[in-house]
Amino acid sequence: MKRIFIFSIILVLCLSTSVEAHRLHIIYKISEIEIQAYYAGGTPCRDANVKVYDSNGNLYIEGVTDDEGKFRFPPKTGVKEYKVVVEAVHMPGHKAETMINLTQETTTINTEIEMPLYSKVIAGFGYLSGLAGIAMIYAGWKMKEKNIKEKNKNRTK
């Protein structure tokens, strides 16, 4: 009986150490930041010059976007904030910049939900018809004024 007791203790000890040895650890390191540049409407901005500045405004890395408009760069140790400037070389006049902040725990991806293109087109037509309407009202008002003046003139005659 005593022997069984000792044996079971040893067994328990063995088991517990073996469990201890299998504890899983994770350490992490963010080794890449990916940005994507695209034109309104979703066309990726290829071969665009990318310049990454650190929080002090010093140029850190520069490069060119790939076919999908993407550019990846490793973060600098200790630097948590970057300014990314993308300039489309083939389309002079197309330039954009954004701030990346790594300390933000929540999704760092700056997903500005963009209005779909068709609704922008409709919005544009809306503005145009509104402008046309205003112009028409103005023109109609002028015509009315003119008519009244002419009537008055006829009356005085």
């Binding site: 309104a40 290829r46 083939h90 002079p92 330039k95 087109v121 544009g124 145009l128 112009a135 109609g140």
Partner: protein
Amino acid sequence: MVHISDGILSLPVLAVGWMVTLLLIAAALWWSKRKGNMVEEIPKLSVVTAAFFVASLIHIPVGPTSVHLILNGLVGVTLGMLSYPAIFIGLVLQAFLFGHGGVTVIGVNTLDMGIPALIAYGIFKLGKLNIKSLAPKLWLLGAIAGGVAVTLAVLFTAAMLLTLGEEYAWVAKALVVYHIPVIAIESFIVGSVVAFLARVKPELLNLEVEK
């Protein structure tokens, strides 16, 4: 691509752009008011402006990039003097809704596309005095006006970029080269539209077609 965006051009260039644009808009409005046909022009003005506004979404892939239609020649031929304010309105909408070009450069961009539109109108007006209502000739005249408008718009934009100095020289060159297909396509479009309108509704082109 002929839209220059914010933060590229220097302040004096931007200021000159705005001044010329505001003066020309005022002149165009004054001129058309004096002619007294504003009421008839308004629907045409808004339809053509809408076409101009949307044309910039039609992209044509050229080499490593893509260029879009401008249609300033069409605006010039159909609207005449009023094409300048029309292009201004179109560009304001494009800047705010599509992000084409920037807000501070609207003056310069309107100048780049508007003056060629006025020149296209001049060419068309001069040309139609000399030809009768023969459709093929009208087609050619429209095509020339459309092509010239785009060519000049591209050259004006390139010139604006060259005010920045030597480093933009190759960008300006690339701009011109990439737009050769656009010049061809727009010549075709404007020529076809002119020939079509001349047959269906010549009043829209202010054509007095002898029948």
